[in-house]
């Protein structure tokens, strides 16, 4: 039963952390509507995962499993694209933040962006939610009497524990000052996006569409095992794996400097008048 709990914890953790970082970021920048969209996307994903999980024995068997996996990789790349876009406009928007942050609440996000935020939450929760549903459904089917109930309860407790883990983690962020908060969550979002990119590349390699180039560049299993709680946490947050291939390392390593360059360009291309406002906002944040 402990095993059931741990598996469900691990399967749900990535979804909880991705939704957690979105909620934390939107919450601190006063985007109430954004928060509502994240919850809506998550809820929709839970329902969709339940529906797909329960129907899957009928539906999925008509869909080639390798095609399903390819579809998943495509959805991951799409999520990376939306998340990248979100990080960039958040950064652009951040210049206008500062003292007037709270007053600007609830009006800054256009509907398209809200849908984007909801879509990221949907993808994260659906992907992991589906696995959790399939796993728990299997537990239920294997023990078709009441003895299954404690196991299903353990599974649900594991999912709840994942939410609690994410909540605890992001609760710590409340103690950061506002500028540091935006800095830390910004970097975290970049790492989450890079992690999703690596997961997509990993799927393409597993499907035989990409070469690993070098199958295992290094092994950090001696330091952080994949099946340790820390390994599971890092895997869920930033796509950690102890024995990555060179193609995965390259994808991760290429994404970050490219993004830093794009973010720097946004800073550099701010018009002069805006620059003054940005500077005073930055000063305000610095002294806050």
């Amino acid at each position: 039963m402990l095993e059931t709990l741990l598996i469900a914890w691990r399967e749900s953790l990535e979804a909880a952390l991705v939704v957690g970082v979105l909620l934390t970021y939107l919450g601190r920048s006063g985007q109430r509507r954004g928060i509502a969209y994240v919850w809506a996307g998550s809820l929709l994903a839970v329902l969709a995962a339940l529906a797909c999980g329960l129907l899957s024995n009928d539906v999925a068997s008509h869909l080639d499993p390798d095609l399903q996996e390819l579809l998943q990789a495509g959805i991951l790349f799409l999520a990376v694209a939306v998340l990248t876009w979100m990080i960039l406009w958040m950064h652009r928007h951040a210049a206008g933040l500062g003292g007037e942050l709270r007053r600007k609440a609830d009006q800054a996000l256009a509907t398209g962006r809200l849908v984007g935020v909801a879509a990221i939450a949907f993808v994260a929760v659906f992907r992991e939610g589906l696995e959790t549903v399939l796993f728990l459904w299997g537990v239920l089917v294997q023990r078709p009497d009441l003895t299954a109930l404690p196991f299903v309860a353990a599974g649900l407790a594991g999912a709840a524990l994942a939410v609690a883990t994410a909540w605890l983690f992001f609760r710590g962020f409340r103690f950061l000052s506002l500028p540091r908060f935006f800095h830390v969550t910004g970097v975290l979002l970049l790492l989450v996006a890079a992690g999703l990119l690596v997961s997509g590349v990993n799927k393409l390699i597993g499907l035989g569409y990409l070469q690993p180039i070098v199958a295992q560049v290094w092994s950090t299993a001696w330091l952080v095992r994949d099946d340790s709680p820390l390994g599971a946490f890092l895997a869920a947050l930033v796509g950690y794996r102890s024995r990555p291939s060179l193609a995965e390392v390259l994808a991760f390593v290429a994404y970050l400097p490219l993004m830093l360059w794009a973010l720097h360009r946004i800073d550099a291309s701010r018009p002069q008048g805006d620059g003054v406002a940005a500077r005073s906002a930055a000063l305000e944040r610095f002294t806050a």
């Binding site: 068997s61 390798d66 399939l134 299997g138 569409y209």
Partner: protein, 110 residues
């Protein structure tokens, strides 16, 4: 350069280097049964490109997973999924069913 250009170049390079995929050297069939993996041990030569065809012969979903091979796939009952591994050094690479962890097996590369 427009902001997107370097991204395009980086990923074109990645897919250019990693995208030239040779045919597999061998295909190995691997079944997941209630009792465990059949066969529980499979073998491949070092450096080979191997296509594992993993069939779920149980009544519920399984997850073929290996930290040592850096692979994971959820497989529905009755379905067969292709899992590629390649360029492995000699050694023993364990895999398991993440949803039923008493089912374990290994790929021996030698």
């Amino acid at each position: 350069m427009r902001p997107r250009t370097p991204f395009a170049i980086a990923f074109a390079l990645l897919f250019g280097i990693a995208g030239r995929v040779p045919a597999e050297d061998r295909t190995i069939a691997l079944a997941v049964e209630d009792a465990g993996f059949a066969p529980a041990e499979i073998e491949a030569p070092p450096g080979a490109r191997v296509r594992l065809e993993v069939t779920n012969r149980t009544a519920v979903a399984i997850e073929f997973e290996s930290f040592e091979l850096n692979r994971e796939r959820v497989i529905q009952p009755g379905q067969t999924a292709a899992v590629y591994v390649s360029g492995l050094e000699p050694g023993r690479y364990e895999f398991f069913d993440d949803f039923h962890q008493q089912r374990r097996g290994a790929l021996l590369v030698r």
